[in-house]
Structure formats: C-alpha cells, structure tokens
C-alpha cells in the first residue's frame, strides 16, 4: 500500500494523519479549520505537512459540513411531496417531547408546512396500487413548486418501500418540468417501512444534497489544482468510506461521520494490540463520545436522532454522547451540590485559562491548576496557534468556586474532576449494560484531546483493567479515515412470518442486494483489494416492535433462519418465547471494498531500558507529588514506568495516576493498568 493521508475537518481544528508504510514515515498535524470554506483548511493542512501529491495513493476525508448544515439550518430550500393526507408526517413524528420533564420548546421541521404538498395516490402494505398517480395533478404541482422557488424536492409516499414506481413516476414528471431540481425519493434512500423515519431520512438527504454536491465539486477542483489526480474517499457514519464523486447522493451518510472514524481507528489499533472487546472513550472540548467495539465490529444503530424529531434511519456506528469535555463548566446547584457540565464554555469563551473572556472554571482549568497540563505546552496547537495559558486566572476562578463550600483550590479542582469522571464513567457503564455486557471485561481506548487526561480515572471508576492510549490520540479520527474500508449498505422491508415467506424470493432479494452493492463499488472506481459481502435479517417474535439483527447467509432456508434468530435471542435475553411465530422484518446486505490491510504499525523490538523523564514537576493527586514528566517520543516499545506520571505529546497529554503502571507495547501504544499489589 502506498502513501495515504487521512484528514478530519472538525469545528475548531483540521487534523491530518499521513502514513507512508514503504518509507516508514508517519506524520500528524493540526491546523485551524476554516468554517466559511472547509476545503481551504484541508488544503492548508496538506501544504503545511509538505505532502507531495504525486506520491499519494489515496486521500481520505471526514467532514462536519453535513452535521453543521443541519444544526445551523443552512441546507437547501426544499419541498416535500407526500401521499394525500400525510404531509404532516414530517412535523408530527411519533408523539414525543424533547425532554422527559418540562413541557416547553418547539421544533423546526427541515421543510416547513407551506412547502409540503400532497398528491392523490395510495398503495397498500404489500405494494398493491389502490389509487393511481394522476399525471396532470403532478404537473400542476410542478408549477406551484416553480413559484415557490425551491432547490430540491423530496418525494415520500406511504408504503413506497413496497412499490417504488409511484415515487419514481413523480420524480420523472417533476424532473421534466425543471431539470435543475435535485430530486430525492424516499425509497431510493432507504427501502424500509416506518413512514416518519424514512421521510425524515429522505428529507435530510434532500436538504443536504445541493450543498454537499457543491462542496464536493469545489474540493475536487482544488485538489486537482494542488496536483492530486487520484481518488478522494469520504468517511461515512457507518464506518466505511465512499468516493467523493458520489458524495452528493450520499449526503445523509456523512452526518456525524467524525466520531465514527475515531471508533474505527480505535477498534483497529486495539485489535492489533490484542484486545477484542473495547469501549472507546473520546473526550474533546464539549462532549464525551462512547462506543462499543467487539471483534473489530462497532455496534451499529439503525436509527439515530440528529436532534428532536429529526431521526436518520441509516446504519450508523452507535456512538453515545454526553456533554462532558474540557470546556464543561463547574458550578453549584441550588442545593449546594457541585455540578460539572453539561453546560460548556465551548470554544468561545472557552476555559478561563484561554484568555478569551471565560470566567467560570472548567474541567481544563481544574487540570491546569493541578499541574496536569504543562503551562508552556498546552494541547491543540503548535507554532502560531499555541495558546499562552493564563494559570493565575484559572486559579482564581477555581478558588472562588471552592470558597462557596469551604474547600481549598486543590480540593475544589479535584472535586471538579471527580464529578466529571463519575458522569463519564456512568455513561460507559450504561452503554454496556443497555447491551447486556459487563464493562469490566472490556479494555478502554482513550482518545480525543482530553481523553488520555481522564482515562486513568475512568478505568479505576468503571473497573476496567486496561487503558490503551494510541500513538496519536488527538488525531485518531483522521487516522480512522485513512484506514476505513469502502462500504455500501442495502436493505429492504419484508415484514412477513417466516413460515409464510417465499424463501426463494428472499434469497433472490439478497443476491440482488449483493449485486447492486458490488455494482456501486465497481462504479465508484475506488481502489480496493477485495470485495466482502455480508447479509443480515432483522427478525422479531410476532408482535414485538424492536427487531434483532441476525447475521445470515444468502442460501439459508426458513428453518435455518429461525434457528439463527432463536440463538441470537437466547444469547441477548437469556430466554426464548417458545412457539410464537418468527417474523422477518428487513433483509440487509453490506458490501465492503476492503482496502489494503492497513499495515499494522511496524512491531519494534522491545527494549528493557528505563524511560527517562525529561523533567519533573509537582502534580496534585490528593496532595502535591513530584511527578515524572515524559515525552511521548522518548517512550520506546518495552519500556515500563509507574505513576504518578504525565506523558506529553503535541496532540494530547496522558495522566498516569499513582498506583498505576504503564507499559509501551510493540506498536508504541501506552497500556495503563492498576499496579499489581505485591503479594
């Protein structure tokens, strides 16, 4: 495999990870993002890294452009066309409210009601036409849409997954009226039932398509100018990549792809290090993302809520987020109990020590006053972007908070960390318990700018044995982009009792999905070494709502499928429901274009040398202790050292608590464990 670059464009920083396995070169860097035109920051990073475009085999890229367009409501001016009687599906959702307690707040549908239109048509749940399309009515609607001056049109009919012709007909009629419209049909985005979720997913696609297509064209031409003639692949939220040329059509797939890339990379790094069950802990400035990866397979969520009443029903890596990060604010509630987050100082004003006007103490301020962050070389910047931290103001802010409940500055800062760590540990426990897993059997991969600073406390709190800190924890998402496979997901709803299903037709459906996926892969022209397809069936006991996703083979008969479901059910719930008939809800196929097995980082010979701290400084762990400070670059495979210690590198700071041991493994990962007590 040739040289590859992964670039993750976040809200504040654009991270770059470059690897050239042949020459043993690995480079990382961070440059400021350019939100007005994110492709500029991307090109900046390539230039700063002095990468020669002609030597590059592939460029892989994660972007928050889609996520931001949704949050800021900067997507296209869209219209929605629905079956008569159902234009409000998008706004009504499925009867819910934003928060369990508190009855205030409204929603902002991505397409407002005056741009939602209905046409006469209806099919039943088996796809039989009850009311045919009236072409004249559709053409008349086309004229209205011209008058409304829309950029994109989303068509979402009831039961369209069972009968796509009506949506297609309306698409063709409208395209004839105005070829400039970007038109999206619901069944082309997702061929599954659940009218609200399918409509919403199609609307997200339509809302993003014009903007994302423009971005793709712009980036493409900029990269050509820079001299790069080969393929660009874009990270998707399902953990795979897709070619830049298809980006517009796959806009909905790139929402929240950044966290997915981090999970992919964490899973890969952990697998090479010999861990097959991991929890990923990604802590940044405002949020803490947790996911579970078993045998390199991240858990996939079928439905993700982007915000209140904006579900996206596409396979996405199941990442859970809470508002806990370096910028989380510490304050007292009315009962006088310390709270940390979810309120955040964000990037502006940021922590007190950032000198941008923040006055309330944050988690970063607490870490700083306890000596865990080096005043002179903070994270998230190098060269020109380096921030000169204001430790005096941070001390004052923490002291002022402590005065309210009679604690010293150090005690207060430790209390802030204890509370935020307890919240993050709680979320880690819940994600595993929700899935019937015991978190203590997992290893934890800590990354993100702040992850390795809190990882030691988290494994202690949750009872996890090992914390793995990868070589470049601060740019792991960029690395995830670089190593991900090309991925296409296909699905179709059946919703029928297995004993009444035409198994021949089901098998044909799976073959067709595989063929369609392979065709997409071929058309993408993206380089890959092998093709791998896997099939799944979503099944339930008749009457249940939530389906279990069961891996299957394309040639299985009804008995074999039933057995697979019952085995999975027993494994997940510890029992079965006896003779209740089994229903197959959806069948799915995932087609992967496997990219050159990411060369595991060269395994170096182990050394028995003692690592040498480059300095020592007082760090507070229950009391001021003289702690060894190591440079990450001085730590070689085989080295071992005891906490308390701090490991510093450009993209992150790792804290090793007293009573913990750190080993450097053959790939250069830090493995932090509780020190075995001498017998």
């Amino acid at each position: 495999m040739g040289a590859v670059v992964g670039i993750d464009v976040g809200g504040t920083f654009t991270d770059l990870y470059y690897t050239d396995p042949e020459h043993g070169i690995e480079t990382i860097l961070k440059v400021p993002s350019t939100p007005d035109d994110p492709s500029r920051g991307l090109l900046d990073s390539l230039r700063v890294a002095k990468i020669d475009p002609s030597t590059l085999e592939a460029l892989l890229h994660g972007t928050t452009i889609a996520t931001n367009a949704i949050i800021e409501r900067k997507g296209a001016r869209c219209a929605l066309v629905t079956t008569r009687g159902f234009r409000d599906i998008l706004e009504l959702g499925r009867r819910d409210r934003p928060n369990m307690y508190g009855l205030t707040g409204v929603q902002q549908p991505l397409i407002p009601r005056d741009r939602r239109w209905e046409v006469r048509e209806r099919v039943d749940h088996r796809g039989n036409v009850l009311v045919p399309i009236d072409d004249a009515e559709v053409r008349a609607l086309g004229a209205v849409l011209m008058e409304q001056n829309v950029d994109a049109v989303v068509i979402a009919f009831i039961h369209a997954y069972a009968h796509t012709a009506h949506e297609d007909r309306v698409r063709d009629l409208l395209a004839a009226i105005n070829p400039a419209w970007e038109i999206v049909t619901s069944a082309s985005v997702i061929r599954e039932y659940y009218e609200f979720e399918r409509t919403s997913t199609a609307v997200v696609q339509g809302y993003l398509q014009p903007l994302v297509s423009r971005y793709a064209r712009n980036l493409h031409s900029k990269l050509r100018e820079w001299g790069f003639q080969r393929d660009v692949l874009i990270m998707q939220s399902n953990g795979g990549v897709a070619p830049l040329t298809e980006l517009g059509k796959r806009s909905a797939y790139i929402v929240r792809s950044g966290p997915a890339a981090g999970v992919i990379a964490a899973g890969e790094v952990a697998r090479h290090a010999g861990f097959n069950k991991i929890i990923t802990a990604d802590m940044g400035g405002t949020s803490f993302d947790v996911a579970v990866v078993i045998n390199s397979e991240p858990r996939i969520a079928e439905n993700t809520l982007l915000e209140f009443r904006v579900p996206l029903r596409l396979p996405m890596i199941d990442v859970h987020t809470i508002g806990a990060g370096g910028g989380s604010i510490a304050s007292l509630d009315r009962g006088g109990i310390l709270q940390v987050g979810p309120r955040s100082a964000g990037a502006m004003p940021g922590p007190v020590c950032y000198r941008r006007g923040g006055t309330e103490p944050t988690v970063t301020d607490a870490n700083l006053v306890l000596g865990r962050i080096d005043i002179d070389s903070p994270i998230g910047g190098s060269g020109a972007t380096k921030v000169n931290l204001d430790v005096d103001s941070a001390r004052k802010a923490v002291t002022a908070l402590g005065a309210k409940f009679g604690l010293s500055m150090e005690e207060t800062a430790e209390a802030i960390l204890a509370v935020v760590n307890q919240r993050m540990a709680g979320r880690m426990r819940l994600i595993s318990i929700e899935q019937g897993l015991d978190p203590r059997e997992f290893a934890m991969v800590a990354f993100g700018g702040a992850g390795p600073m809190h990882g030691a406390a988290l494994i202690r709190e949750v009872g996890i044995k090992t914390e793995l800190v990868p070589a470049y924890p601060g740019v792991l998402c960029a690395m995830g982009c670089a190593i991900a496979d090309i991925r296409y997901d296909l699905s179709q709803t059946i919703e029928q009792r297995l004993d009444r299903t035409d198994i021949g037709a089901l098998q044909a459906m799976l073959k067709q999905q595989r063929a369609d996926g392979e065709e997409q892969l071929k058309k993408s022209e993206a380089p890959h070494d092998a093709v791998r397809a896997s099939h799944f069936a979503d099944m339930v006991y008749q009457g249940q709502i939530h389906a279990l996703r069961v891996p299957i083979e394309a040639d299985w008969n009804a008995d074999r499928l039933t057995r697979a479901f019952i085995d999975t059910y027993r494994r997940d719930f510890g029992n079965t429901l006896g003779d209740i008939p089994v229903v197959v809800v959806n069948v799915r196929t995932t087609v992967l274009g496997v990219r050159g097995a990411h060369a595991a980082k060269a395994q170096s010979a182990l050394t028995h040398d003692q690592p040498k701290p480059f300095k020592r400084r007082p760090v507070h762990f229950g009391g001021w202790t003289d702690a060894a400070i190591y440079r990450r670059t001085d730590l070689l495979p085989g080295m071992q050292f005891e906490g308390p210690a701090i490991v510093e590198q450009d993209d992150a700071t790792t804290v090793v608590e007293p009573g913990m041991t750190t080993c450097v493994d053959a790939a250069g990962n830090l493995l932090v464990t509780l020190t075995e007590k001498a017998a």
């Binding site: 706004e91 707040g105 009679g406 430790e414 709502i545 006896g578």
Partner: protein
Amino acid sequence: MSIDPVTLAVVRGSLEQIADEMDLHLIHAAISPIISETNDCAHGIFHPETGETIAQGRYGLPVFLANMQFTTQNIVRLANEQGGFKPGDLWILNDPYVGGTHLQDVQLVAPYFVGDRLVALMASTGHWMDIGGSVPGGWAPKATEIHQEGLLIPAMKLYDQGRLNEPLVQMFRANVRLPVQIAGDLAAMTNVFTIARRGLDQLVERYGVDRLSVCVAAMMERSEQEMRSYIEEIPDGTYRFEDVIDNDGIVDKPLNIVLTLTVRGSQLTFDFTGTSPAARGPVNLSRNTTLSACYVAMKHIFPEVPVNGGAFRPATFIIPERSIVAAEYPTPVGGYLEVLGRVIDIVFGALAQAIPDRTPAADFGTVGVCTIGGRHPDTGNFFVGVFPYPGGYGGSRASDGLVNGNPPLSMANFMSLEMSEHRYPVRFNHFRLREDSGGAGWHRGGCGTEYQFTVWSDCVTSVLGDRVDYQPFGIAGGGEATPNAVRIHTGGNSWVPPMRSKLDSQPLHAGDGVEAASPGGGGYGDPLERDPNEVERDMNLGYVSRATAESAYGAVISEAKPLGDRMTYRIDATATATERARRLAARST
C-alpha cells in the same frame, strides 16, 4: 460525621447511577413489550426506616415519580407489623389502594442488608401485559368494581428469607392470560435486585455504611433545600382552580376536580376539598397517585429538582376520602390516567395564577386510547392495536406549544402507520396536524392531531378519552384550545358516541372506521400582543385560519392570493396595530 462535598456529589451520582442501571436492566430483559418498548417501569432506592426515596432511575415513566416512595412507606409499615425485614425477603403487591396506579403495575420491594444492618430498601415496578380480569390487557371501560379489572395482590412476601413462595406463583400463573410472559417478567424484575446489590456493595466497600448514611441524609436535606428555594420564589397566597372530567363512561355526569393550593414561605399545601366523590366507572385515582401527579406537575415546572424524598418534604396534602382522587376498595381505577392528567392540569392552573412566567397553559389533557381488536383475516390470529392520543402542548412564556406531544405523565410513542397496516386490518386515510386547534395567545397553544382509519375486516373498537365538553384552558389571557372530537363511521353513517369520547367494544365491519381529532394546547398571554409577523406565518403554515387570525388576533389582511389549493396571506401591520388598539380600548370600557 462531617460530609465532604466531593464524596457527597459522587455518592449522589453513584446512587442515581445504580437506579438507572436497574431501569435499563429491566428494559433490556423484560418480555412484555410495554416495558421493553415504552419503558413502563420504575426503580428506586429508599430509606430503610422512613421509606423516603434516596434515588430513582431516570429511564422509567414520570407517572411513578413519587408513587414508589408512598408504596414503599406502606410496605415499611406492614413489614414492621410482621417483625421487620429479614435478609432474603422480597415483597410483592399490585393493590392500587396501598400502591397506586392500576392492577397491571406490580411492585417488588427488597431490603438491602450489610451484615445484619438494614441499610436501604430497593424497589422495582413493572407493567404486566395481563393481570386477569374481564378484559385482556386489563383495561375494562365498563368496570364498576376492582375485581372486574383483574387479580388483586395484597402486599405479601414472594420470598421469605430467600425461600420462594411457589404456591403464590402458581396462583398468579393460573389467573393471568399470558402465564409464560408473566413468569418471565417476574424473573427479570427479581434479577434487578442483583444489579442493585452489586452497585450498593461497591459503594459500601468504598465509603462504609456510616459515611453512606450521612451522605444520604445530607442528599435529602440538600434536595429539600433546593425544592424550598423554588417554592420561596412563588408568591405566598391561596390559589384555587377547578376543572372537569366529561363523565366516567357509565353515568353521563361531569366530575369536578378542585384544588386549593396554599403557598406559605417554602411550604405548599395541596387541598382537594370539593372534588367529586368516587365515580361509578373506572375514572378514579388512588391517593398515592394523586400525590405523584402533583409532584410530576411540579417537576415539569422545575425540571432541575432532583428526585428524592427531600424534594417531596415541603408539601402537605388534604385529600377527601372516597373521592375520585382517593379511590378506596372496591372502586375501579382502570381509567386512572384521565384523572391523573387532570390533576396535573389543575396544578398548572393554580400555579399559573402565582407564577405565570414559569407555568405552561394546559396541554391537550386526554391520555386516552383508541384500541381495535379482532382476528386478522390473513392469519386468523387475535390482535390488539393501541393508538394513544397525541395532542398539542400549552403555550408558555418560553415558547409556543409543541404539536403531537405525549401526555406529561408518559413517554410512549404512536405506532408507525405503515407497521400498523402490516399488523392490523386497517388503512389510515389521514394522519395530520389539526389546523386551528391550539388556543390563541401571545404564545399560542400547539395544534392537536387528527387521524382517521378504515378497517377492511370485522373487528371491535374501544375509545377512552376526555376533554370533549371541557376543553384545555389558556393562561395569562390566552385562549382555550379546540375540544376533543371522536366520530365513528358505521354502515355509511357517521356518529358521535353517547359518552362523546368514551366507547366500549363497538363492532366495526369492513369499510367502517374511526375518526379522532385531539385537542391542541391552551394559549399563553394576550393574542392581541402576538407579533403580527408570527400571525402571518401561522396563517401561511395553516396553524391558524384566516378567521381566527382576524377574530382572535385582530389581524388585518392586506393580501390573499391562491397558491395551488391554498391561500397565502399578508398582514397589514399598521392596520393591525390600529385594529388591536381599538379592541383594547373597547375592552377597558
């Protein structure tokens, strides 16, 4: 022993975490879809002597908010009468007069011992799919006594010092329609205590029993202090509010619910004197659930208050015996949700007089459901489809009301229409926002929802709703919402049920159907003060009709032109200001 604030914060977080883990364990392991899919359960950790809530899970339903504490307190009393809790004991009950809610909600209570010291109580409540009685699923709209609603389990020991009372389990199994599922749910609920013990053991190991007990006492005090600080912001006074339930489904007579809320410093008194005596039909609430409803309403207004016994301390209750808010044996309680919703409404109605800036106007106010049942023609299997009411929320100082909310005491969703058509012989003709149904206001109420379905095979429908005769109210000058409306279509005729929104077991044949239109929420503030741009937007989105814009909002329309089959409007801001001024002047004379 002094409490260090770090320990206090971490212990509180850890106890809440254990309660959350109890919730999630049952949601994951339960067989009944009502638990696994609508979270119809609740878990908590309670004080060993007072029975007060120490922590409650945040995934269970609001309806159980304070109910769990009052049930546990009754169990503490009963256990003490029988020589106190012993290690390995596990109590069970569903008696609504001792516990609350309805017979389907079964509660387990277990002691947590460290050595021989009783340190805490743990409780699990779960909704069972069937509990016997005259109707599958347990909701009997024509019930006039509790025995028609199902099997009543008095508070007793399911496990006595670790020994299972096997005959008792056999008795349940013989008296419910889904014995396998019920036994599975019971096992899952029992397992929850293993999870709780594991978490509590870790805390005890880390902090010791004495420090933990000091923290618990401090947590309660802090929560009480926090609750009192909110109550102190409510001006002292006596605030009276009353509202009405259309009828009990059996006797066509309105039922009054009256609340006199007194605020003195940091103390609240909820006095329900004047409330109607127990209804003959199942529209009754047990006392514990009435208390719970008051706390749910308070928590909706002050969402930051933590859920533990301390927060419940600053309130006292005066509840007339044998009224619809204090059901006693053998009064039926299966329709308790309608009363519960109305209690939340009147708490809002009373508080709106004192703190209008914090209180929303009434929401759609009917929790009711439309069910259809029968045998599916394709499979021959029995089915029951449940379509709960969605509706609008009231306007508030903060915002207009939401559309298509769920009731304040529930988080359950509406089923996918496409899935419903797969599972039941129904076809939806429309499912849409009910135009012009929110109360007018400076912030208007959210619109209700309307849906209509036709069946294509014989089945039976039942409806239980309310808010037809007495619609959701506005506050601070806001208008009322449009009332509920249910119509049944049979044999080509369309008719309103005699009890309006309560109908038991109506047969439907192919081509017949049901049409429901739920209320919106009440309005907040004077509609004449609503921003004219917002009124124009409301008209163009179809949330508000032209007629309402003119009559309620004083809008003067300068332009109306057709677009497709709709009209688009422009408001003349100057003329609207003049018209509004004229009306305000007319009001004051």
